[in-house]
């Protein structure tokens, strides 16, 4: 128990430092967090609202929520992929709980995610949609964080062994982005539907949209799917990370 507490405290300290490092010397600082997803949102809205968007009710909110959630996943995983090699000298010098490097990234990303959610609330009010469903969001966010943490652990470990996974992941995560119904809807396309069943992001985004954008109860099998995926990724992530972390210092 003490160990978990101290690891968590270390993660928080590292997350704080990371946040500082990211904003150091930048003029807009924290605004960049909002600007990135916001510009993406405007662009996609401009392009798609008259096309795929016409069949989707409350399209702007549907789109924005998808972007914001995927952004969390993408930011955390791409940074985790590089985390071990960036911190190589620290790893080679001190024997601290290595997981904290990854959990600190998830925490720092979570922090910026909250700003994006605030942006979402502003838009929801603007479009006169009650954001009341957000009170359930923390619960989703717990499992979402678990999933992202698990995926990050897997990527961080693999990147030690396959050096250019970093570049591959930049590409693959973009593929996943396209494969996830962010700016479109799956609708009746059965083939796409079956593929999406293997995409954890599909579950998380759909559930959240149901609750927050449409204030309706999501389908139970989707909730179960999201929980299973998050626990599965956490399990695999912890398993390979813990098995291989002692080798990190030698390989970087």
């Amino acid at each position: 128990m003490d160990k978990i507490k101290s690891t968590l405290e270390l993660s928080l300290a590292l997350a704080r430092a990371q946040f500082k490092e990211r904003n150091e010397g930048s003029y807009l600082g924290i605004l960049w967090y909002l600007l990135g997803p916001f510009l993406m949102f405007l662009l996609l809205l401009l392009v798609f609202s008259d096309r795929v968007g016409t069949n989707i009710p409350r399209y702007p909110l549907y789109l924005l929520l998808g972007i914001v959630m995927f952004n969390f996943f993408q930011k955390a995983t791409s940074e985790s992929t590089k985390a071990i090699s960036i911190n190589r000298w620290i790893i080679k010098s001190i024997n601290f709980p290595r997981e904290s490097l990854i959990s600190s990234i998830v925490l720092a990303t979570l922090f910026s995610h909250i700003f994006e959610i605030v942006l979402f609330i502003v838009f929801a009010l603007f479009f006169k949609v009650s954001p009341a469903g957000l009170i359930f969001y923390p619960l989703i966010l717990i499992f979402f964080c678990i999933f992202v943490y698990g995926a990050s652990l897997i990527l961080a470990t693999l990147n030690v062994y396959f050096v250019d996974l970093d570049n591959i992941w930049t590409f693959v995560s973009r593929l996943v982005w396209l494969g996830t119904p962010i700016f479109y809807t799956i609708g009746g396309q059965t083939r796409l539907f079956y593929v999406s069943l293997f995409n954890p992001m599909y579950y998380f985004i759909t559930i959240t949209r149901d609750i927050i954008v449409y204030t309706r109860i999501p389908e139970i099998w989707m909730i179960i799917g999201a929980v299973i995926y998050s626990l599965l990724f956490l399990f695999i992530g912890l398993l390979i990370f813990n098995k291989l972390k002692i080798k990190f210092a030698e390989l970087i």
């Binding site: 101290s6 405290e9 620290i90 010098s93 001190i94 250019d164």
Partner: protein, 241 residues
């Protein structure tokens, strides 16, 4: 009390000819089973023990296994055979100054590295002034690390380490870049700690420091212990070698 017991420790490294190979190359060699690498024994059958209140120096050429030994004791590397047991909190300073976050201020770095060495935020706050004072970098608390000289970085790293309650202090070439004044000051600090039961392992190329302050010396060559024992005796032999 025995602080460190090292029993028959061996450690090998697989040295690739091309260390950072691309995924494709790895994939190919994964299937073909051919991987260009050779095995180097960084440590071979190393055994010794160190008790509390001792300062033990480790000397040897570059690549003789000194840093590897420290990393194994710290638990950063695993062993291929043998056993290491330690008793107490380990604080290791092995090229730590290279790990400092260049883009952050000294203040932030103190918080990061004290946390990594296991202090709580509350404890760090309490010790912050003392860390700054020992490093003599009071004027640079808000300066970013990339503007620090190597000596300044080393001083900061040392001050941080010494404030993290070490029972076992592993120091790797800490005094090679600092100035004389700081050297004397920090060695005195180390002496103070050993009186209270701390064990220090000191890797150094500066034989002067080893001669003056170490109780015993371990002489490593190509991963083996050549000699271990009284400082004067072994340094004499080492210098003649």
């Amino acid at each position: 009390m025995e602080r460190i017991i090292v029993e028959g420790v061996s450690k090998k490294f697989k040295i690739g000819f091309k260390k950072n190979r691309s995924a494709l190359a790895r994939f190919v060699s994964l299937f073909s089973g051919i991987e260009p690498k050779k095995i180097i024994w960084a440590l071979k059958e190393v055994s010794f023990s160190v008790s509390s209140e001792e300062i033990v120096g480790i000397v040897g050429k570059n690549g003789s296994g000194k840093s590897t030994l420290l990393r194994i004791i710290a638990g950063i590397y695993d062993v291929d055979s043998g056993k290491v047991s330690t008793n107490g909190k380990i604080v290791s300073l092995i090229n730590l100054s290279m790990g400092l976050k260049e883009k952050l201020m000294m203040e932030d770095n103190i918080y990061i590295f004290c946390s990594l060495l296991g202090l709580s935020i509350k404890e760090i706050k309490k010790r912050f002034n003392s860390i700054v004072e020992l490093s003599e970098l009071g004027n640079f608390v808000s300066t970013k690390i990339y503007q620090f000289s190597e000596g300044m970085k080393q001083r900061l790293a040392f001050s941080i380490a010494i404030h993290c309650d070490p029972d076992i202090l592993l120091l790797d070439e800490v005094f090679e870049v600092g100035d004389r004044e700081f050297k004397v000051k920090s060695v005195n600090k180390i002496k103070e700690f050993t009186k209270n039961g701390t064990t220090v392992l000191l890797v150094s190329h500066g034989l002067g420091i080893v001669e003056r302050y170490c109780d015993r010396v371990i002489w490593l060559d190509e991963g083996r212990i050549v000699r271990i024992g009284d400082t004067k005796e072994i340094l004499n032999e080492y210098q003649r070698y």
